[in-house]
Each structure stands twice: as C-alpha cells, then as structure tokens.
Symmetry: C2
C-alpha cells in the first residue's frame, strides 16, 4: 500500500461481503463498528455471535481487532481489523461487573450515554445535564482499569467535560464535528474540544450529513478546512476519522436508533417528520472506497504528509495502542 494507515473510528453499516470488499478497496486497516445501540447484554452477545459468523466466513477480508497491533497485522495481511463498540451503556445494563465481561468479548469503546439520560451520563437531547452520576463515576473507573474507552459522542456538554476530568485515561469522541462549523446538538463546543485535546483524547470527524455544514451538500473542501481549524484548536495529534457511515441500512434502523424502546411515540432526532430516514451522503463520500478522497482533501488544504498520515489513521493507532489494555505505567 502506498497510503498511510487508515482507521475509521465509527461505522454502523448493514454489513455484507460487498462492504467488506469495499473496505479492502478503500484500504481501511481498522474500523470501529457499533454492535449495540439499545441492546441489553444478551442481545449484544447475539450481535457478537453474528460478527463471529462473518469472521468465520470471510477470514481473508476481516478479523476481530483487540489491540493496536491488530491494525498493523491487518495492513500486513491485507485485511481489515474490526473493533467492537457500544453507542449506549445498555449492554452493561445496571451491572458494573459486565464492563470487564464486555471487554473480554472485545468491546473497546462504550458511550456513557446515547441521546437520552443513561444510568451513567446525560445525552445531548435531554433538557438538563447533571453530569456524571454516582454509578457513572464507578463505571468510568472500571473502564479505565480494563481498557474500555469512554466515548462521549452523543453525550451532553457537562457530562462530557466531567467524563474528560474524571477519567484517568484519555477518552474519545469517536464521531462528531465541531459546533463552530455546524451548530448541531450532536456537534461539540470549543470548550469540549480543547479539554479533549489537552487530556490526550481523540475526536473522530463524522461524515454523517446531519453533522455537516450544508448537510448532504457539504463540500470536501469545507470538511477539510474544518479539520484544519479543529487541528489548531485541539492539536493535530488528537484528531482522526469516525465517519458514522451507515451504509445500506434501511430507514427502520434509524428509527431504532432514535426511539429504541424508551417511547411509544416517534422521535425524529436529528431528522424531521418530512425527512425521517437516513439523509443522502455527500457526493465525495459514499462508501469505504472514498477514503482516498478525504486524504486528497487534507493535502489540498495544506496538511503535510505526516499530518495527513496522523489524521487518516496514525493518531487512532497510537490511541488504540495506549487504550485497549490494562492501564500501564506509560498509558
């Protein structure tokens, strides 16, 4: 390969051999995939089982990633290392003991909340954000111990700032963009981004249209200029890609994401009644084959080769190396 490591720190595709092959075409060495939105522990295990079947069936294309070294192994063997993560703490239910169990099963990222209040933290759609709860403080400590990364992508402001402060290891916002560029509820304030960068945490830039300035019409240039601005704010070593690609998903899936089992009514989340489904992707990023375009866009706005390599995968790889095992003296 003649391109730097490529790591996408969030996808939730309707997985298929076609997409696994597109990841190979796009040179994706590592991908963090969501295996739980609102699933409880048992349902999450079913999703692990489904991935086990895919790993069994497509060993030449994919395998389960557990450490940063697996990203290197993927590159060496021409495959994609797949890392599991949760967008909600629902898989641990109300049981702190499930943190270690989930890590053993391969979970490497867990959001402390999705859009709503969880047992641990507050989601960005709640009217009030009281910060990290009593159980949240205990669970962060346990996540730090085993090497399950705190992800605050969907969390509210105060909860996110407190998670950065309480966590003894750097946290991640795997898929979101800066609010200064596109002030969506899901995008992040300068305060959050600065604190994230200063603490050694990582931001993954999202290509999900609701997070983009101009939504589906957003240009690659605007996206890459936003990355350049964010690099100034939080450091070029603390940013990467987290596309939030939901390829080939039916609209029923976005309804599940938004409403789970918490309401009998429809909640449109980032959408509207008139546009309830998945929005169309921007022209320059339709699927995994388009990572080269982002790489080109980063060069075009002035990043040099080492910087582009860091943003496209090097930063996530370093973060994976430091984050996925028990806390060591250097981590």
């Amino acid at each position: 390969m003649d391109h730097p490591y490529r790591v996408d720190c969030l996808q939730y595709a309707n997985w298929s051999e076609k997409i696994f092959r597109q990841m190979r075409e796009g040179g994706v060495d590592g991908v963090h995939v969501t295996i739980a939105y609102h699933e409880n522990f048992r349902e999450t295990v079913l999703n692990v089982e489904q991935w086990n079947r895919w790993f069994e069936r497509y060993p030449d294309l994919i395998f389960q990633g557990r450490t940063g070294a697996d990203v290197r192994l993927a590159r060496e063997t021409g495959r994609t290392a797949v890392f599991f993560g949760f967008q909600n703490p629902s898989p641990i239910e109300d049981d702190i003991g499930l943190v270690e169990i989930c890590h053993t099963l391969g979970a490497r990222f867990m959001q402390l909340s999705y859009n709503n209040q969880s047992l641990l933290a507050t989601g960005c759609y709640e009217a009030e954000d009281p910060g990290i709860t009593r159980m949240g403080r205990q669970v962060i400590k346990e996540m730090n111990r085993v090497g399950l990364v705190v992800d605050m992508s969907h969390s509210a402001e105060r909860s996110t700032l407190e998670a950065i402060e309480i966590s003894e290891r750097p946290i991640a916002i795997t898929h979101a963009n800066p609010g200064f560029w596109h002030p969506a509820l899901r995008n992040k304030s300068d305060d959050v981004l600065r604190a994230l960068g200063q603490s050694g945490g990582m931001l993954g830039f999202s290509v999900y249209p609701h997070h983009l300035k101009g939504k589906s019409d957003c240009t690659l240039e605007s996206f890459c200029q936003m990355i350049a601005q964010t690099a100034e704010l939080m450091g070029v070593g603390n940013i990467g890609i987290g596309t939030d690609l939901c390829q080939d998903q039916p609209d029923s899936v976005v309804e599940w994401m938004r409403t789970g089992r918490w309401t009998k009514e429809i909640d449109y989340g980032e959408g509207t009644a008139a546009a309830a489904g998945f929005p169309p992707m921007p022209t320059w990023f339709g699927d995994n084959r388009d990572f080269g375009k982002i790489e080109g866009g980063l060069h075009a706005v002035g990043f040099d080769a080492p910087e582009v390599a860091a943003i496209m995968g090097g930063n996530w790889l370093r973060f994976y190396d430091n984050s996925f095992g028990p806390a060591g003296p250097d981590s």
Copy 2:
C-alpha cells in the same frame, strides 16, 4: 374485627408463614410488598413466581391483591391481600412496553428511581437532580394509562415535584417521613408534601429507624405527633402507613439494597461503616402484630375515630380504588 381497615403500603420482609400469621394477628388487610430493588425483568418474574408459590401454599392467610376491592375481600375472608411494587424501575429495563406487562403481572407501584439516577428520574443520593428525563415523561404517561402508581419514596426533590406535576393521576410516596421532623436525605420537604397533598397524592409514614427522629429510640408519641403535624400540612385524607418493615432480613439484604450491581465498592447509604446493617426497630413496632399500638398512639395525640380509620387504611383503600386500573372519568 373491631378496628378500621389496616393497610401497610410498604414492607420488604423475609417472608415466611410466621410473618403471614403475624399479619393476621395484626389485622393487616392489605400490604404493598417490594418485589424488586435492582432486579431486571426476568429476575422480577422469578420473584413473582416465588409469591405464586406462597399464595399456593398459604391460601388461608394471603392472596394476590389487584384492586381496592381485594382489600375488602381480605377483610371479609380473614386474609391479607398482597400488592406488588418495585423500588426501582429496573424491572422495566429500558423498555416502555414492560410497563403494561408488569401491571398485568400485578405490579401496582413503581418508584421512578431508587437512590441513584435511573433512566426516568433522580435518586436522593445523587449530587444533582435534573428532574424527570425524556424517557421518564413517556413512562409516567404509560403508567397513568394502565394504572401503575408512580412512587417517589427514594427520589430527589426536583424529580419528585416534577413527577407530581407531570403525572395526570395522583402519585404516592409510599414510605418516608417529613424532613421537618427528621431531616434525613430520604425524608421529604414541606414543598413536596404540600404539592403531594394538593394533587391528591398519598404519603405513607415509615417506621424504618433511619427515617425516625431519634432513630431506634424514637417514641410512639413523637411519631404520632409528627403524623398530626403532617396532617395539618397536607390534609388528613392524604396520609397513611408505609412501615418499610424489613423483618427477619439478614444484613446482606441491606447491602444489596444499597449497592445492587452499580458499584464494586461498599456504599453505606443511610447507615455507616460502624453500623452497616439493619438498625433495631423501635420498641413499639417490632412486627405486624403492633399496628394496634400505632392506632392507639393516633387516638392519644387527638385524632378522632374517623381520622384514625382514614390514616390506618381508609385513605390507602380509597387511593387503591382510584389508582390501580385504567384512568376513568372520575379518577
């Protein structure tokens, strides 16, 4: 029987034939029993199964209560009607559809939170109380629809006031005392008690020592004078008994109540490291045979016979009549 209806709106004993017989000796017509502290849905169903075995084995002493009429039937047939309730919304997990399922299985009270933040509301041990969550608003509506009573005994102040306001039907605080008498975290402010009374809700007075002025040394006279003061604050029609009797429980149970599965550390809750277990009960209330003493104490502080009857069971009976089925035109 020559005494008024006796309804105890909260017990969590280590149930046995001995205690069922003591309930008969004490003339307890109806009792609300906790069947879930931190149990998830499946575990709660196991607890229902356990009760089904007791109902099968002791049909001359107890039966499952589902409506206010069952309290009258209990009186007529010399038995105790047993009503199920949850001290935490853990049995509905993250699934609003389980509200109706739990009601069908017999649940009649559900606390929106125990001591910690839940998916619905905030517990009294959290540092911050943001009020009722998005899911909480949906669940209250569903509880109102099916006739599952909102119980805020362990909830924090703002969440409680919001629950009173949001709920379209009167709510209950099944077991707590006024903070003006004994300012424990679990006891309630004048604001909460006034709002509860004005909305037609009910307070059940607790005999659990941590809720009593002077704890285990509290006198019956002090307890009954407190009831008289509370009647002035919120109306004699809105108060009853909810002893929180935890008879014959080993101290391991109070540890489960306090720590559930949310922490790996010990949390002493209302206790302390030096006094971690259940505190000794006051001399005048050791078990179900002592309800007559409370009745006598109420007379002694000046309540007349109809008032004593209302407090000992009549008020809860009216509340049960109005609360346990679908909302009607008069409820």
